[in-house]
């Protein structure tokens, strides 16, 4: 287990280094988020959005940003023919762990960008910051997990881009619905305990999807 984690960290550090050199995924998800929030902000003018609309918009931005960038971490390996080198050297699940950590960091970084944008540009008032941050962190974990496992499945297929969104949406729907509900409660000033059920659902969902990923990945990863 320790070896798996340490080798996963090696893959994670490599992906982080490659990302900072190419900025492909960062640009893709960052530009989508900023453009969407800016467009909505200008179209609304002085109108303030209700917490339920804000919560939905927040997670829609995160979902579509994830769709535009998170699959890249696996697709790049196949497009650049570097996947076989990983297969030769790394245990399959270490690759999965590395890519999962990378997507968590990428999506977490995106949230650090869009939360201030929501507050500044859309005038979002967060009633309970600890609850908001807990919901965001849990949602990011769940969304990154779903995206990583689906990206691993579609990376070896032909029409990867289209498949990724089509396959991710139904699996990510429970994450979206739960995260939107919990975020609305946090925006309205509900306590952390009020989001407890949503946090439990997101945590359980993450564990289930990651377990499925571990069980399937060795078969998926080997052509």
């Amino acid at each position: 287990m320790l070896s798996l984690l340490s080798k996963g960290l090696v893959v994670f550090r490599k992906d982080l280094r490659l990302e900072f050199r190419s900025l492909y995924a960062l640009n893709a998800i960052g530009l989508f988020a900023v453009t969407t929030i800016t467009a909505v902000s200008f179209s609304l003018g002085p109108v303030r959005l209700e917490p339920n609309i804000l919560a939905a918009l927040f997670w829609v931005v995160i979902f579509f940003s994830a769709m535009s960038g998170l699959a890249h971490v696996f697709i790049r390996e196949e497009e650049q023919d570097t996947g076989d080198m990983l297969r030769l050297v790394f245990p399959p699940n270490a690759v999965l762990v590395g890519k999962w950590l990378f997507n968590i960091v990428l999506l977490g970084g995106l949230c650090l960008l869009i939360i201030p944008l929501f507050v500044i540009m859309l005038g979002a008032e967060v009633g309970n910051w600890p609850a908001m941050l807990a919901m965001t962190a849990s949602g990011v974990f769940a969304m990154a997990t779903v995206s990583t496992v689906i990206a691993a499945i579609i990376a070896l297929s032909g029409s990867r881009g289209a498949l990724f969104a089509v396959m991710t949406f139904p699996v990510a729907l429970p994450v979206l619905m739960t995260a939107i509900h919990g975020t609305r409660v946090a925006l309205e000033g509900g306590q952390l305990a009020d989001c407890g059920n949503d946090l439990k659902v997101l945590f359980s969902f993450t564990i289930v999807i990651m377990t499925v990923g571990f069980l399937l990945f060795e078969t998926i990863w080997r052509k």
């Binding site: 090696v10 570097t82 076989d84 080198m85 990983l86 297969r87 030769l88 050297v89 080997r222």
Partner: protein, 203 residues
């Protein structure tokens, strides 16, 4: 380590590329795989490296203690092939350090420098691979394949893209490997066919 291939068959859809092939390569021996274009040389190499799952039959690696699998096996094979690429946005040194860490070893800067010198990349180790020519990339692949002193070195089209000096480097690597381990070469070059004691001809 010994390589045992028994009744190996590989199909892609309805097309059978490799049909019931069997051979044994004892530790320390060399094998040359030949055959026309499309006869399945690369497919066989990929199967031997566990990069493909065979349709039927078995491939097993054994040493005195029994069958080798997973982590035990991964650290014993080195591969050079046209389909195997290193990270072009990383330098040769970064690529080799990454692979060493992947095998659970601490990267040895001195060893990596010596290895790059050996394959003819002295002074270019810090340059990103995207600035390399195709011949230099092939040299970097050799460094990656022999970094961990593999028991079995597998070479698919070993001298592709290489100039005369590069071919001499390959010959030196091959001779060294034949002294300390096993070698599998997939080729149609007349000179390279002489590198093996055993031959598998694919139809």
């Amino acid at each position: 380590m010994d390589l045992h291939v028994e009744n190996l068959t590989q199909r892609f859809g309805f097309r059978t590329v490799i049909k019931e092939t069997s051979f044994v390569l004892p530790a320390g021996q060399s094998l040359v795989i030949t055959g026309d274009n499309g006869s399945g040389k690369t497919t066989l190499v990929r199967l031997l490296c566990n990069l493909l799952t065979p349709t039927a039959g078995t491939i097993s690696y054994r040493n005195g203690k029994g069958a080798l699998e997973g982590e035990d096996l991964r650290g014993r094979i080195g591969l050079v092939g046209p389909y195997l690429q290193l990270y072009r946005d990383l330098s040769a040194i970064e690529n080799l350090a990454f692979l060493a860490r992947g095998r659970g070893e601490k990267p040895d800067a001195q060893k990596i420098r010596e290895l790059l010198e050996k394959v003819g990349l002295k002074g270019r180790g810090k340059d990103p691979l995207k600035t390399y020519s195709s011949g230099m990339l092939q040299r970097a692949k050799y460094a990656a394949a022999i970094l961990h002193n593999p028991d079995l070195l597998i070479l698919d089209e070993p001298t592709a893209n290489l100039d005369e000096a590069g071919k001499e480097m390959v010959l030196a690597v091959v001779n060294e490997q034949r002294k300390k381990g096993s070698l599998v070469v997939a080729t149609n070059e007349a000179e390279e066919r002489t590198w093996g004691e055993q031959h598998v001809v694919l139809a």
